[in-house]
């Protein structure tokens, strides 16, 4: 074994701080992990489990990594193959079988994720999700939090070599390197990403070579089948991190002795010789030989160990099988946080300071007040730092007042903003981030849809990441197709995220403060055309004003027609209502304020009164959130309808730049009047 420094005492070996006990324990974990792979495939074939993704061949590397870290202190984000890692880090076979056999008391995910998504909160093992590569930016967020807390904790994130092709990997390495984060990227290179060889994956065939250019990153290459070699590299990386010298990438060369997962048959794409070659590098026989050669263990001790492991694993599996399955009545638990965490009960009538402010200033003041309230709140995004203070000046003054540790510019990468925010939130911080334009939120959609929205549910409430993503949306500003989009249609379809869309300054302030203090991730949509609009301005509510989510506002009372709307369309609806009043029509306008949660009761009450409804939004018609509202009305108010429910929305096109075109696409006063008049005549 390379790098081994050993003293020859009778039967004792000291290897770089690894005592005999450490080595024996490591060896036992390897045997245990290998046996767990075998047993999990057995129970799968017995129909007791439905999926297994094994780590045979990776054991030495993973155990070396685990041995170099401190459970309950350091933060780890292991990936699906890291069973040996988590076993050595403190998880038990029982816990892993609970997960494999989808039992109710599975401590990793409450049986809500497939097996292989290891996690345990007391050990600071953050359970990952299935999409490869989403863990890197979250690890960056956790490392950012560590750095702000100024401890000597380090953060470990692992993956296979294939996941390093993901763009988010490079975003993460870039961020970590630039800001000297205490983060260790542990890449277990088994040369295969399911069936794709690394030569078809990575430029030059090695991620170790690729990251050479990242200034501030220390990189290590090691033989992942050699426990000592890997441990040496890990120790250096860990020390680097603890001493705040920056991130490391460890490229560990391992072998994949099993197919990718129980759903794969690697004989389809690997030759027999290739598989044989990998078997020759199997870390277990290797360490066995080493231990025997150095007199650390005798053969019969080893055999006894193997037998004991077998018995322990069988017992663990047997025990897990007796445990209760999850109850179907729990299926809606943990989609959202505790409702009482929402300031619904603390709703107060605002005490207006008297000064009329525009919406952008209301937002700025809300941010300012909440930053003052909560020392663990951070704001970041592109261009948000002073002197610019955000492209719309939403965050002006925050850096000056609260410092660069809490208010800073992010890199120009939306996935980074959201991923890092998730990591920070997991570690107890309150990120309130800005995506510069709704049109650019899409790179972050993977993090939003698969991570942010699902974190609480998939971990059965163990992990959560409350945070706020502020995002300017909407058109009417000659912004063309990429500065005018509405995004709520996509977001409303995702369970797990709250959505706010205020129409005026007072609502914006109250809702933003509620969002920041709330228990759920929020996408806070701000209509850029309303930012400085006089009609959207209001007397400023005081610092205690929290507007609860799920409470719509009746902006105008009426008897003949109900208009359900939100955002910039509120004012347009009110204008239309005023015009129609002159023609003897009485129009009621309901401003939804939040789309999730949705105030259904206010909608139904109004519909039951007027019996004629139009739903108006700026987003395109097909599949827009309006279709959801119409469906709800039809289902709940059928007997009260005296006309078909109408929708007014943008045409199903991108939003063009030239005003004659833009005005033809987006809903406007003429369109609204025409539809409402038709509705009245029906």
């Amino acid at each position: 074994m390379r790098g081994a420094i050993h003293t020859r005492e009778a039967g004792e070996v000291h290897v770089l701080g690894l005592s005999k006990e450490d080595l024996v324990r490591a060896y036992r974990t390897m045997l245990l992990s290998r046996r767990m792979d075998e047993k999990q495939l057995i129970i799968l074939k017995q129909g007791k489990s439905f999926f297994h993704i094994g780590g045979s061949g990776h054991e030495a590397a993973q155990i070396a990594a685990a041995a170099a870290l401190r459970p309950e202190v350091d933060w780890v984000l292991p990936y699906y193959r890291d069973m040996a890692f988590v076993l050595h880090y403190g998880m038990t076979p029982e816990e892993i079988f609970l997960s494999a056999m989808h039992r109710q008391n599975d401590p990793t995910n409450g049986a809500r994720q497939m097996p292989g998504h290891y996690g345990k909160k007391p050990l600071r093992i953050i359970a990952q999700s299935s999409p490869t590569g989403t863990q890197f930016l979250q690890a960056v967020g956790v490392a950012l939090a560590v750095k702000k807390e100024k401890t000597d904790e380090v953060v470990y994130v692992s993956s296979g070599e294939g996941a390093t092709s993901e763009g988010e990997f490079f975003e993460a390495v870039n961020w970590a390197s630039r800001e000297s984060l205490p983060l260790i990227f542990f890449i277990e290179d088994n040369k295969l990403a399911i069936s794709v060889p690394v030569t078809s994956q990575t430029a030059g065939g090695s991620i170790y070579e690729v990251v050479k250019g990242f200034k501030g990153l220390e990189r290590f290459h090691c033989d992942g089948t050699d426990i000592v070699d890997t441990y040496t590299a890990m120790q250096k990386a860990v020390q680097r991190g603890r001493e705040h010298h920056g991130p490391s990438l460890i490229h560990a060369s391992v072998v994949r002795l099993l197919p990718h997962s129980s759903s794969d048959d690697h004989r389809k794409y690997r030759t027999k010789e290739e598989i044989e070659r990998d078997l020759e590098r199997d870390p277990i026989p290797r360490l066995t030989r080493f231990l025997i050669d150095h007199g650390t263990l005798h053969e019969d001790e080893i055999n006894e160990m193997k037998e004991q492991v077998k018995r322990d694993v069988d017992a663990a599996a047997e025990w897990a099988e007796t445990q209760a399955l999850p109850d179907s009545s729990t299926v809606m638990n943990h989609v959202y946080g505790d409702a009482h965490a929402y300031p619904q009960k603390k709703f107060t009538e605002p005490v207006h300071t008297g000064n009329k402010i525009v919406m952008i200033d209301a937002i700025n003041h809300a941010l300012n007040e909440e930053m003052g309230n909560n020392p663990k709140m951070v704001t970041f995004g592109e261009d948000i730092a002073d002197g610019k203070g955000g492209v719309f000046t939403a965050t002006k003054g925050l850096l000056t007042k609260y410092g660069s540790e809490r208010t800073f510019n992010s890199q120009l990468a939306e996935a980074s903003i959201v991923g890092a925010a998730i990591g920070l939130s997991l570690k107890g911080w309150t990120p309130v981030v800005e995506i510069q334009f709704g049109d650019y939120i899409w790179p972050a959609f993977m993090q939003i849809r698969n991570e942010l929205a699902m974190m609480r549910y998939r971990s059965n409430g163990i992990w959560s990441c409350p945070l706020v993503i502020r995002v300017p949306v909407g058109g009417y500003i000659h912004g063309g197709p990429y500065h005018s989009q509405s995004i709520e249609g996509f977001m409303a379809h995702i369970p797990g995220i709250r959505l706010a869309f205020p129409s005026n300054a007072a609502d914006a302030k109250g809702l933003l403060k509620s969002a920041i203090r709330g228990d759920d991730p929020v996408i806070f949509m701000e209509h850029k055309a309303l930012y400085r609009q006089d009609y959207a301005s209001s007397p400023e509510p005081d610092a205690n004003y929290l507007l609860p989510f799920g409470v719509a506002a009746r902006r105008r009372e009426g008897n003949n027609i109900t208009v359900i709307t939100y955002g910039a369309m509120v004012q347009q609806s009110l204008d239309a209502a005023r015009t129609l009043e002159g023609k003897g029509m009485s129009v009621e306008v309901i401003d939804l304020r939040t789309l999730n949660p949705l105030d259904e009761e206010t909608i139904y009450q109004s519909v039951r009164k007027t019996n004629k409804v139009a739903v108006i939004h700026e987003d395109t018609m097909t599949g827009g959130f309006g279709s959801e509202i119409v469906s709800l009305i039809t289902a709940h108010c059928f007997e009260y309808l005296d006309a078909p429910v109408q929708r007014i929305a943008a045409l199903d096109t991108p939003i063009p730049y030239s005003p004659p075109l833009e005005n033809a696409v987006l809903p406007g006063k003429q369109k609204i009047l025409a539809v409402l008049e038709q509705l009245a005549r029906y």
């Binding site: 009260y640 005296d642 009245a680 005549r681």
Partner: protein
């Protein structure tokens, strides 16, 4: 919720009305449409039906007092929730649709579309309109006759609301220029002295009885009645009826009587003599191009003549079924005010009581009425084609046609009756499927 009773406007030149009698007293429960008081005006006296179900909570104007039209004269307390207030509210009329003005003497004061047959089911009613109809007890036949002011003639919420509002001041038809036929309200106190108990028993007439009495007086004083009588050989019909009686009841669920045969014959005769199916207004004869056949029924609370509308357009089965339907509803008090309106000719069957011959009174404003006596087996002289006479036992009945000699003379009246006889004695049984 409190509902107001107001003094209604009984005609264009009427500006005030007198409370004749409060039929219901303070604290009494009232059903919707039940008579709540009687009023008297210069032109017409009328009973006023209640616009709501509830309790008469307060009477504001006493009997014999005269007040302006529109004055609130009483309150009813209903159990309706405030959300139903909307159906009572005064709402601005929808653009382009004015409710028709109340006309004196018009058969109805609600915006009915007179020509729409009740069986027409082509109209669309929104979920809301259907819910209101259900709540207010408007069945399909009523809904079908409400004019629609919405798009393409759709009945809107407003149309139904207006109908319900105007229905509260609906009054029974009263032709202009008629002599007042109202029975004087007797004074119990005075009469008790004149007719003391136990020798005498004083019972005030039920409103329905009173109505009937007044109608009869009015009819006799309006139309010079002439009766022509003929006998009809119903043997063929008797036999035919017996032969299909069981099958018919099995198929339809009700018993086949003689009435559909008679109705069928009457309809045939009316088509030949349309003047019998008319009404006189002043010196103008109003011929009606439809036949709404009234069938007199002895209902629990008195005689009533519900109408089968557009009977001329029905086949035998539909006719039989409709006649059965109105009779059943009449006996179970399920008739709506509209069911007894707008008849064009009436038939009354006193034969069910065993009486041979009658002289009925015309059902105003119709021109004639047919009375049917009991069907009895009699010995009859039969002449065959060769002229030989013999005796036969035949099922015979006497028909009486009472007609208004202002419109119909003896020749027409006689010929009309003969036509009915002919239809019956040579009945086309193929019509009975």
């Amino acid at each position: 919720m409190r509902v107001e009773i107001v003094m209604p406007k009984m005609g264009e030149s009427i500006f005030e009305g007198t409370i004749v009698r409060w039929v219901k007293k303070t604290g009494e429960r009232i059903e919707k449409d039940e008579t709540i008081l009687e009023i008297s005006t210069d032109k017409v006296d009328s009973e006023i039906p209640s616009p709501a179900k509830g309790v008469l909570s307060k009477i504001l104007v006493e009997e014999q007092q005269t007040v302006q039209v529109g004055t609130v004269i009483a309150y009813i307390e209903t159990e309706a929730r405030d959300s139903e207030q909307q159906f009572q509210q005064k709402e601005p009329p929808p653009p382009g649709a004015e409710p028709p003005p109340l006309e004196p003497g018009s058969p109805s004061v609600v915006p009915f579309s007179d020509r729409v047959p009740p069986q027409e089911r082509h109209r669309f009613y929104s979920p809301l309109v259907r819910m209101i109809a259900k709540k207010e007890g408007l069945d399909r036949t009523v809904l079908d006759r409400i004019a629609g002011s919405g798009l393409k003639g759709r009945v809107t919420k407003q149309d139904v609301v207006n109908f319900l509002q105007l229905r509260t001041v609906n009054t029974p038809p009263a032709a202009a220029g008629e002599k007042s036929s109202a029975l004087r309200t007797g004074d119990f106190g005075v009469l008790r002295r004149k007719y003391p108990e136990p020798m005498f028993n004083l019972v005030r007439m039920e409103p329905v009885q009173k109505k009937m009495a007044e109608h009869m007086m009015r009819s006799v004083s309006t139309s010079p009645h002439v009766n022509v009588i003929d006998e009809v050989d119903l043997t063929e019909i008797v036999n035919f009826r017996l032969s299909i009686l069981y099958e018919f009841e099995k198929q339809t669920g009700f018993k086949l009587t003689f009435m559909p045969f008679i109705a069928s014959a009457v309809i045939g005769a009316l088509k030949e003599f349309p003047i019998v199916n008319s009404t006189l207004e002043g010196d103008i004869i109003i011929y009606k191009n439809f036949i709404n056949l009234g069938i007199a029924v002895a209902a629990p609370n008195g005689l009533i003549v519900p109408v089968v509308r557009h009977a001329d357009k029905m086949d035998f089965h539909t006719l039989a079924s409709s006649m059965n339907d109105v009779a059943v509803r009449a006996r179970s008090k399920k008739l709506l005010p509209d069911d007894v309106m707008e008849g064009t000719f009436s038939v009354t069957n006193y034969g069910v009581f065993g009486n041979l011959i009658g002289t009925p009174i015309i059902n105003q404003p119709q021109a004639a009425i047919l009375g049917i006596g009991a069907v009895k087996k009699r010995a009859i002289v039969l002449s065959d084609d060769a002229g030989y006479d013999s005796m036969g036992i035949r099922s015979m009945a006497y028909l009486t046609l009472a007609f208004d000699h202002r419109i119909i003379d003896g020749a027409i009246g006689g010929q009309f009756l003969t036509s009915i006889k002919r239809h019956l004695e040579h009945f086309d049984f193929h019509l009975v499927k």
